[in-house]
């Protein structure tokens, strides 16, 4: 198969009415996905069916019904061929503490079928790429959580797969480690040319990393869309102003002026109802360009109010999937991605 990044319309993962039922629960319910090359986030709460999906994609667990293909290979019949071309990083700890990262990753490379010399070379390369240097000769038992996560990532990449499945790679990391891991995941695609499917139960952390986000809930598809659809179409400005004697409710006064000037507001009446401190006093303004900033500044000055803050606020994926979903669903249904499933899946 051609390296996926050079061919835009290649499908990396495709599922069709994929279902997995256990005696007491339905883990996947008629899930149809079409995932292309790049970094794809798979989001869902715990128990949404993420791990079950990964098991099926690796050809380790038969689907109850429906079909799935990874890199064009059928999961039901070509599991071994898939596992040769795919890397997997589990969510849980999986590293023996008494061997060094080098020894462990070399062993795992050979388990993927790499000859001894190639296994050693690829191990040295891969550990360097994930950011492990001198410490790779020390036993893993003494590593920090961040270093262990890097070793786990290295063992998934060491055989140069076409696709890696990363199960909750940021679990247990502090904010800095989290950022580093997300950056590393981004590089797996941009620098190494390997497609990535990364799961998380946090929507927010995937929006910077992923090209595409798939949200599943209760085993069925909630939404599958390109990240850029949500985050770069428009910019939202958060504006907070003081009140004055002339304008006891400064926020309201500013809204009136801006409405007259033809400005559109975001959210409920333009008010940020996130429940954060002072949220009721923050106006969310849709910025169409530089002139919006000037207009806001001039309007505030004209009213004689104090401008407490004016900051850019990107749309967060989380907002898009919330109640207000309906009115901005239109740009989200892009070509080449799975369609939103029918109703009846919002189980909780």
């Amino acid at each position: 198969m051609v390296r996926a990044t050079t061919v835009d319309d290649v499908t990396v993962i495709a599922t069709e009415s994929l279902s997995k039922r256990f005696p007491r629960v339905t883990a996947l319910d008629r899930l149809s996905l079409d995932i292309g090359p790049g970094v794809t986030g798979l989001v869902g709460s715990n128990g949404a069916g993420k791990s079950t999906l990964i098991k099926i994609l690796l050809g380790l667990s038969p689907a109850t019904e429906g079909r799935a293909a990874v890199l064009g290979l059928d999961v039901a019949t070509e599991g071994a061929a898939i596992r040769e071309r795919v890397g997997y990083m589990p969510e849980h700890d999986c590293l023996p503490p008494d061997v060094s990262a080098t020894e462990f990753v070399v062993h795992m490379a050979r388990m993927s079928g790499l000859p001894p010399t190639a296994a050693r070379e690829r191990t040295a390369d891969t550990l360097r790429h994930v950011g492990l240097y001198e410490e790779r000769y020390r036993p893993i038992g003494g590593y920090s959580t961040g270093m262990k996560q890097r070793v786990k990532l290295a063992q998934a990449l060491v055989h140069d797969p076409k696709l890696v499945l990363l199960d909750e790679p940021t679990n247990g990391l502090d904010p800095v480690g989290r950022d580093e891991m997300l950056g590393l995941i981004r590089r797996v695609h941009t620098d190494f040319g390997i497609s990535v499917l990364v799961t998380s139960h946090l929507l927010g952390e995937l929006e910077r990393t992923c090209d595409h986000v798939v949200v599943i809930d209760g085993g069925s598809l909630l939404r599958s869309s390109s990240t850029s659809d949500f985050t770069s179409v428009t910019t939202t400005l958060a504006v907070e102003v003081t009140d004055s004697d002339d304008h006891p409710d400064g926020t309201d006064a500013l809204r009136k002026v801006l409405t007259e000037a033809g400005i559109t507001f975001v959210g409920h009446d333009g008010l940020d109802a996130e429940g954060l401190p002072g949220a009721g006093h923050i106006l969310l303004v849709e910025a169409t360009g530089e002139e919006t900033y000037d207009l806001v500044r001039d309007s505030v000055a004209g009213l004689g109010l104090g401008l407490i803050r004016m900051e850019q606020r990107r749309h967060r994926i989380a907002e898009v999937f919330r109640a207000g979903e309906a009115h901005r669903a239109a740009p989200a249904a892009t070509a080449g991605v799975g369609q939103q499933k029918g109703s009846g899946h919002h189980e909780h």
Binding site: E84, E103, M111, L114, E180, G183
Partner: protein, 302 residues
């Protein structure tokens, strides 16, 4: 910063190391190669090779004891005038040194399988081309091979020694052959039982104790009851009681088929008919061990 070595704007130290990502276009040797690699890694690991210096001590010591005893026997045979054969039979050797073999399997079976279970490394294997059966077969074969080296090497020393002492060639070769068949059977049986016990008790230290219990407590119990049966002169009971511990099973099989002298009280080993039962039980235990291991790994898949 380390995670940004791939970008042009890396720090000074990262720029030196930055040679970019190289993809791998070489051969992928697939499932059978992976199975062989796992086999050789596990076999070497049983003797502490490729592991820390500390973990080499016990297996090497036990292997040394086995060989040393064989060397002493050879030295005695050569130094004593008018000897026409070795002081002991080839088939007796493993029975006499069963404690050493028991210690070896108790220390090495847990390190072979419990580690992967305890640290949850098993899913990493099964996300690769190898299948459950490959993993179990590789681990089983490696453990049996390690035991065969431990028990076969002293027999080779005895055989070479007997030839140097110019004992009867045909006689010695036959005895050596019978001994090797016996220890091969012992290796497969002990490896299976040891791995099953270790795989079912992944907790550290627990596995070692459990394997020792299975190997030695059953032997202690069986030989005690056998001794009582001997006192009450129930020869039949002695024969059938031997079915209940691993080492007496091997003793029974080699007494019936491999010309060994039974170590049972009064030498009351099984005859050919009872020997068949012994052999069937041994083979059933081996097959059962494999089946239990396969079951065990079905549940830890991913």
């Amino acid at each position: 910063m380390s995670t940004e070595t791939g970008t042009v704007a890396g720090s000074d130290s990262s720029r030196i190391h930055n040679i970019g990502y190289r993809s791998y276009d070489g051969v992928r040797l697939g499932r059978s190669y992976a199975r062989r690699s796992l086999y050789s890694q596990s076999l070497r690991g049983s003797f502490g090779l490729g592991r820390s210096a500390k973990s080499k001590v016990l297996p090497m010591l036990l292997c040394g004891v086995m060989c040393l005893v064989a060397l002493i026997l050879v030295a005695v045979a050569i130094a004593t005038p008018n000897m026409t054969k070795l002081p002991i039979k080839y088939t007796d050797f493993a029975i006499y040194l069963q404690a050493v073999i028991g210690l070896f399997i108790a220390s090495q079976a847990p390190q072979s399988v419990s580690r992967d279970l305890r640290f949850k490394s098993v899913p990493l294997y099964f996300s690769r081309p190898i299948e459950r059966a490959d993993y179990v077969v590789a681990k089983y074969a490696a453990m049996a091979s390690a035991l065969l080296i431990l028990t076969g090497l002293p027999l080779v020393i005895l055989y070479v020694g007997s030839l140097l002492a110019k004992f009867d060639f045909a006689d010695q070769t036959k005895g050596f052959g019978q001994g090797m068949v016996s220890v091969a059977l012992l290796s497969v049986l002990f490896a299976g039982l040891g791995l099953v016990v270790a795989a079912l008790t992944p907790r550290r230290g627990f596995g070692v104790a459990a394997v020792i219990a299975v190997m030695t407590i059953t032997y202690g119990a069986v030989s005690t009851v056998q001794a009582i049966a001997w006192q009450t002169s129930s020869a039949d009971a002695i024969t059938w009681l031997g079915l209940f511990s691993p080492i007496t099973l091997i003793d029974g099989v080699q007494t019936a088929f491999l010309g060994a002298a039974s170590a049972f009280p009064g030498g009351e080993g099984p005859g050919a008919a009872a020997g068949v039962v012994y052999l069937i039980v041994v083979l059933a235990l081996v097959a059962g061990s494999y089946a239990v291991l396969m079951r065990r790994y079905r549940r830890v898949g991913l």
